[in-house]
Every structure is written in C-alpha cells, then in structure tokens.
Amino acid sequence: MNWRALGATALAVALTVPFALPFAYLLVRNGQDLGGLWSALSDDRLVGPLLRSLALGISVALAAAVLGTSAAWLVARTQLRGRRIWALLLCLPLVIPSFVGAVALIAAFAPGGLVEDLLGIGWLPEVSGFKGAFIVLTLLTYPYVFLPVMARLRGLPPSLEESARMLGRRPIEVFLTVVVPQARAAIAAGALLVFLYVISDFGAVQLLRYDTLTRAIYADRLLDPITSIALSLVLGLLAVAVVAMERRSSRVGLRDQARMGTPLMVPLRSGRIPAYLFLVLLIGFSLVAPIAVLVFWAIRGLANGSSDATSVVADPGMIIEPLLSTAGVSVLTAVVALLVILPIAFRSVRRPGRLGEVLAGTVVGGFALPGLITALAFVFFTLSAPGPLGALYQTLPLLVLAYVVHHGALALGAAQSAVAGVPARLDDAARIMGKGRLRRFTGVELPLMLPGLAAGAGLVLLSTAKELPATLLLAPPGFSTLATKVWQAAELAAYEEAAIYALVLVAISAILTWFLVVRPALRSWAVTPVAGTSSTGVDSPITSGYPEVTAP
C-alpha cells in the first residue's frame, strides 16, 4: 500500500467516526453510571414504554404486511384496470411525514373539523392514544411492504402459479399456498422496516399522546436525563438489532428463478367491486383524506384570516422564511453528506474487504438509530462538553452534523453504485495519457458518477426537509423549518396554520419523491427483471442502495 492509498483509507476512517459517535456516547455515558442505568431499566419507567413501543410496532407491522401484500397481489396479479396508476397511488403515502398524518387525523376530528362539518355530529370519537397512532402509522407505512412484494411478484416464475391453477386450485388458494410463501422473505423485510419506522417514530406518537419509548425519552430529557439516556440505549439496541435482522433476512431467500413470460392474471368477476373498494378506501384514507383535511383547514384559515398577526394565516408571506430555512439547511446537508460519504464509498467499493464493510456498516448504523436518539446524544454531548465543543449546542453546524449522521446512509448506497459504475479501466486509461489524480477525478470519474451522486444527495435532501425531532432539539433559537412550524402550530391546536405549513411540506416532498423515488422505480418496472437480480424494491439503505425510510 502506498502513501496515497494509506491517506485515502485514513480519510475514510476519519469521516466515518462521527457516524459512530451517538451510539458510542450512549454506551459510554450509560457505562459510567451503571447504577442509574440499572435503576432506570428495572422499574416501571422502562417496562411500560417498551411494551407500548413493541405493541405498536408489532401491530402496525402486521397490519401493514396484510394491507401491503393484498394491494400488491391485486395490482400485480388480477385483471385490474389502470394497473400503473394504482401502483403509483399506492406508493404515494410515503410523501406524508408521520407528524403530518397525525396532525391531519387530529384536525379531522377536532371540534369544527372536517368530520363534524360533514357528518354534522356533535359527539366526536377520541383519536389519541394507541388507536390513533396505529391508524396513522399503518396507513403511512404499508408502502414499505407493498413495494418489495411488488418487486418479488414481478420476479416469480409464472409457471409456479400456473402449475397450481392447473392442479385445480382456485386463485385465492394459489395466493395463500404459493404466492404468500414465495413472497415471505419480501413481506418479512418490509414488515421489519415498518417495525423500525414505528419504534423510531416521534412525531405521530407525541402528537397522539401514546407513551412509547421515544415519547418517554423526549419527556424525560430535561428533568430525568439519566432515565432518558438509559431508555435511548434500549431503543438504540432494539433498532440496531432490527436492522441486523433485516439485513440478514434480505440476504437469504430472495434468489429468483428464471422468469419467463407474463404472469397469469386472475379474473376478478364478483370480487371486482370489493377489490376496487379496498384500493379506493386504502388510498382514500392514507392519501386523499389527510390532504383533504389539510386543504379544508388551510382554506378556512385563509378565508377567515386571523387575529394573530404573527400567524401565517394572517400573512401568507410568512411562509417564505421557514421555506427558505428548510431549503437552505436541506441543500447544505445534502452537499456535506455527499462530501463526507464519497471517500467512504470510494474506499469500500475500490478496496472491498473487512474494513470497507465496517465503514459502510457504521454509516448504516447511524441511520438505524432513531433521529431523536441521534439528536439527544449530540445534545447531551455538547451540553456536558467543555469549551468550544459545548459552544456548538444549538448551532447550525451541529444541526447539519446530526442530519448528516442520521441521513448519510441514504447517500451511501447511491454513491457506492456510482463509484462501482465507473470502470477502473477508465482511470488506468487516463493515467496512461498522463493525467494527474485530481484531473482524472474531475475529468473522468466525477462526470460519470454525477447522476448517481445527485440521486443520493436528493434522498438526503428529501429526508432532511421532512425531519422533525433533531430539528426540534438542535436548531438554533429562532430557526424554524416547515416541519417545526407544523409541529408548533399543532401543539397550539392552531390547525389552520399547521395545515398551510404541512401542505407546503407535502408538496415539496411529493415533487422530490416523484423525481427521486417513483420515476426510477417505474422505469425499472418497465423492463423485465433479469433472472437472479432481485431487488426488494424498498428504498432503504438497509436492503439496497436507494433508501427512503425517513425517520419521522
């Protein structure tokens, strides 16, 4: 190994260190205070929230698995009209952050909300607690199952299902006895992602007042930091364990046989009406209803105006400031993330081996840790650190660092594919022509990698724009993004204001998602998958390179 290669390795290792910081901090801090850890873990403050997190995570994962798998089968295997449109619409709930979904549910059932208006009833059901969190999270997360199952169904050899039909089994039996067992690994991978999403979720459970681990960690952070840190470690270990399981389960069982011809489409017949009804209701409740509620409140707010001159309702121009903050900090994060990730991607792709895997795994670990915990670790770290480090608390650099640590993995997969996509021969060729390292990088490699890198940076941008807990904890005083504006307004029950910010956020998220996630996915579906190359279709750094799992 020459000096230059050594330098590149040292750089990659150094850049990976921040990704390990939050988890390392939790371990060290808990290790220093084992008594506090023990007392926190052994009493009710842990058991209750942990059980609630698990209950919510498991029930949402199961419900999302059922909804996502059924929807995928209907779209991929029955004579449904408008297959492409349904597939597209069924992915779209991904653009709604969980706290926006929660705001929509609360606002719909709030006094004077859409439900009261439409139904004209005075009595409104209680939507907070487990029920509300379960409904919101299930409706927003089923696409994480829908997408990999769709990909799996596309990869299944049609002769399996055809054999089963020829042997006299009805389509529904074929679905249960052949399709589901064959898609089991994809369903499990999707359900684990949903579970991870739910146990990491902060916005929805906080707004809907369901006391899970994240809510307890947030509530205790000021008055009882020892418990908060202990619970963070528990949640962090749980999340990392889930990711480890997910990576293992996605590695086995997804080998496709050669796939020939188009699959047999099941006639819907008398099931036609229930089938369309199911899809319409699913999309209606997960996508149309939340947006309709937000539009309802936004229009009402803008029509009635507000007595509060500081509200966006009174002055729509006030949207500009959080919009620019969101855009600015997201772009900054995307650029920094790319600069940090690129050397790591280079090292792990160009010199494959144990070290490269450890580096990439550490970056993914930063993503696995819930955003709330990443942010809290930085808060506690800077608050207890002396001198210049302490001064970083609630500054823009620290906020961007937390974003990069939490979302960097989203760019890693794309960057790794981009680096792998540049043939090493090209570098040799340029070298023979006498070009220096920098010239080779800027003149040959960078232009070739640019589309892939842009996609990776775009995913970081999208996730940062929707980020809530880290922004709440680490943003400099007076710095607001669209997400924190939605949050503050929702906590004050100012639904008109929350709705306006939320709609703008959803619109931005939808546009970015369309270009970064949906269009590439549709394009890859247009071509028949090649035998043996199965992608689960889920955009996650955990399974593949193109992630979109964003901690709410």
Binding site: Q79, R83, A87, A164, R165, M166, L167, G168, P263
Partner: protein, 357 residues
C-alpha cells in the same frame, strides 16, 4: 409494467356440450394473435383418447401458445377447443384452467419450493388424500419411492422433473400437456427420461400432448406426430407417415435428412440422378423427389464423385455430386471410399413422394 394480461374472463360454470367426436381433445379453427402478430392461424387437431400426440415444430412456430390455449392459460381469439367432448374454450365460453382437469408439466420443474416432494404431488388432490397412498403411488410410478419427505431443492434436475410429472399424473387428469419437459436437462438424462415417460404415459393409458422441437423426441414419444410450421399444422400422422410420406417439401426437409432431387416423373416412377425411383403417388413431368440418404446405396460404378465424407462413428454420410446435384448417401460404419473417388448410386428404398417445384 407488464404487457396486457391474457384475456381470461368470465364464463359459464357448467361446460356446454359440443359436437361429440370421440376425441379426448378436439380443436377447430383455433386462432391467436399476440402483439398484433398472428401466432396461431386456424388450428384443427384431434387427439383420440389414450394416445400421445407429439406436437413438433421449430421454436417460434406457435406450439407453446397452442398448448397454453389448451391448458386455459391463454385464450384463443377464435375457434373451439373441446376436452372429453366438453367445450372448454369458445367464442361464448371460457373454462378457467383449474376447472379443466388438465395436467401440465412445464419446461422447468416449477415445484413449490416451500413444500416437500409429497406436498407437491398431493397439491392437486382432494384434501383427504393429500398424504395418502395416491401420493406414494404416483411417486413409485416415476421411480421416486420414499422421496415424499424430501425438499425439492435436494433433488437433481432430472428427479425434479420426475416429481413434476408425478404431480401432474397423481390428479388423474383427462389430459396431460408436456411443454418441452426435458429441454433443461443434459443429453444422457434426456434420453433416459424420454423412454421412461413414454412407458409411463402408456401404462397410465393417458391422453397426452407433448410439445418438442426435437424430431427424435417427437418420434419416440408420440403415437402420432403433428408438425407445426408457422402457426399452422403442416401434417399429422404416425412418425412413419411423416418420414416416408411427407405432405410437403417443408415437412420433408424439417423431418429428418432429405435429398430433394430434380427428376422426370412418368406415372409411378421417376428418373433421378440416382436412377429409377418408384413413386407412392403417380406424377408427371418435372418434379422434385424426396430421397432419404439411407435409401441410397453406394456401390462400384461411375455415377457420382465423392466430394466429402461425414464420419459419425456408427454410420457415415457420403456427400457426392451426381449430374451436378449434391446427393447425400448414408452408410453403416466407415465407407470404403475417399474424397475424389467415383462411385455408383442405387435407390434401395420404398416408393417415395414427388412434389412439383
């Protein structure tokens, strides 16, 4: 996303009786267009009960599409298909594949990987019989006694294909379709399975349609062979019919090795470069006569010049030139000639057929 699904839709649950013809499978005027291209151009075909029909044709001739239409995995655009005298596919009616009682073996074994061998074989049986003696019997039939508890992935390719056959046979279907079932296997295994499948189908008294592009396979397995060329049935008959009395030039050249020699026909005899050849059907004037290489004997003489010898071991083909046209002549063992020798040619076969060019 994917292309249009096969147009499979509703149809009456009770099959309607069609014109009974005494055939286990009957097709009339079956047509199918895929992607704007006609694939099946009016197929008429009958398979008597208890016989095996080999559907032979080059790849792309539409034989697999026809098989899928029979199975109910695809719907013809026109024409009738009847199984055991019940219409399963027609302009007004389409029976779903699971209601047709037709067994099918695909190119790949298509075993359910999550089920044991026994679970696969029992899949098409009524619930009560799924792990009973019928499964064991079907496995014994294909020589896999005792394999019921194994997983398909632990079997070799040939064994998997046997299980697939046992699975199709176990349900005792009225018709079995085999879609090039040996194409993924290597040559020795193919030869072994061919004989076995022929014996099995005969023992079971099954009516079967066997699709293949391999003429040898079609002749070995089929009681009758239907040659399909470009979406049409070119000829149906026993293997000997197709080989000895081809209905057209195309059939003659696709089935086996053939010399097509220019000749002058005079009634039931034709004058060819290999001498006088008796004709099965009288003809007159300029014709082309089908002459199989093994029907030409090489002897001492001065009729032709040896241009090349293709030596295969058990036999050899002498490529000669006689009166300016190439004549292939098959002899057993190694021929006692060399390139450049002058030899005599003599026709030694049964009466042949002639076509006007």
């Amino acid at each position: 996303m994917e292309k249009l699904p096969p147009h499979i839709e509703m149809c009456p649950a009770v099959p309607t009786r069609s014109d009974p013809r005494g055939s286990a499978l009957a097709m009339r005027g079956v047509e199918r267009v895929l992607g704007g291209k006609p694939i099946l151009k009016g197929i008429d075909l009958d398979v008597p009960a208890g016989t095996v029909l080999a559907l032979l044709g080059p790849s792309g001739c539409g034989k697999t599409t026809l098989l899928r239409c029979i199975a109910g995995l695809d719907r013809p655009d026109a024409g009738l298909i009847a199984v055991d005298d019940f219409t399963v596919s027609g302009p007004e009616c389409f029976i779903q594949p699971e209601k047709r009682r037709i067994g099918m073996v695909f190119q790949e074994p298509a075993l359910f990987p999550n089920r044991t061998v026994g679970g696969n074989v029992g899949y098409g049986l009524p619930r009560a019989e799924r792990d009973g003696p019928r499964v064991e019997r079907a496995l014994a039939l294909v020589g896999l006694t005792g394999a019921a508890d194994r997983m398909p992935s632990t079997l070799s390719g040939g064994q998997q294909q046997r299980v697939s056959l046992a699975r199709a046979l176990a349900a005792e279907p009225s018709l079995i379709l085999l879609d090039e079932p040996f194409s993924a296997l290597d040559a020795p295994l193919r030869a072994e399975l061919r004989g076995e499948v022929r014996r099995l189908l005969a023992a079971a008294g099954a009516t079967a349609v066997f699709v293949t592009h391999d003429q040898e396979e079609a002749f070995l397995i089929g009681d009758r062979v239907a040659l399909m060329l470009d979406g049409k049935i070119a000829q149906v008959g026993t293997p000997a019919d197709l080989y000895e009395r081809p209905a057209s030039r195309a059939v003659a050249t696709f089935v086996g090795d053939a010399n097509l020699l220019p000749a002058q026909a005079e009634g039931d005899v034709a004058l060819t470069p290999v001498g006088r050849v008796p004709l099965a059907r009288p003809a007159h004037g300029r014709v082309e006569v089908v002459i199989r290489p093994e029907c030409v004997a090489a002897c001492k003489g001065d009729d032709a010049i040896v241009e090349r010898i293709e030596y295969y071991g058990h036999d050899a083909v002498i490529v000669t030139s006689s009166q300016g046209c190439p004549v292939r002549c098959r002899v057993m063992g190694r021929p006692p000639f060399d390139t450049g020798d002058r030899i005599g040619l003599e026709y030694v076969g049964e009466p042949s057929v002639a076509f006007t060019p």
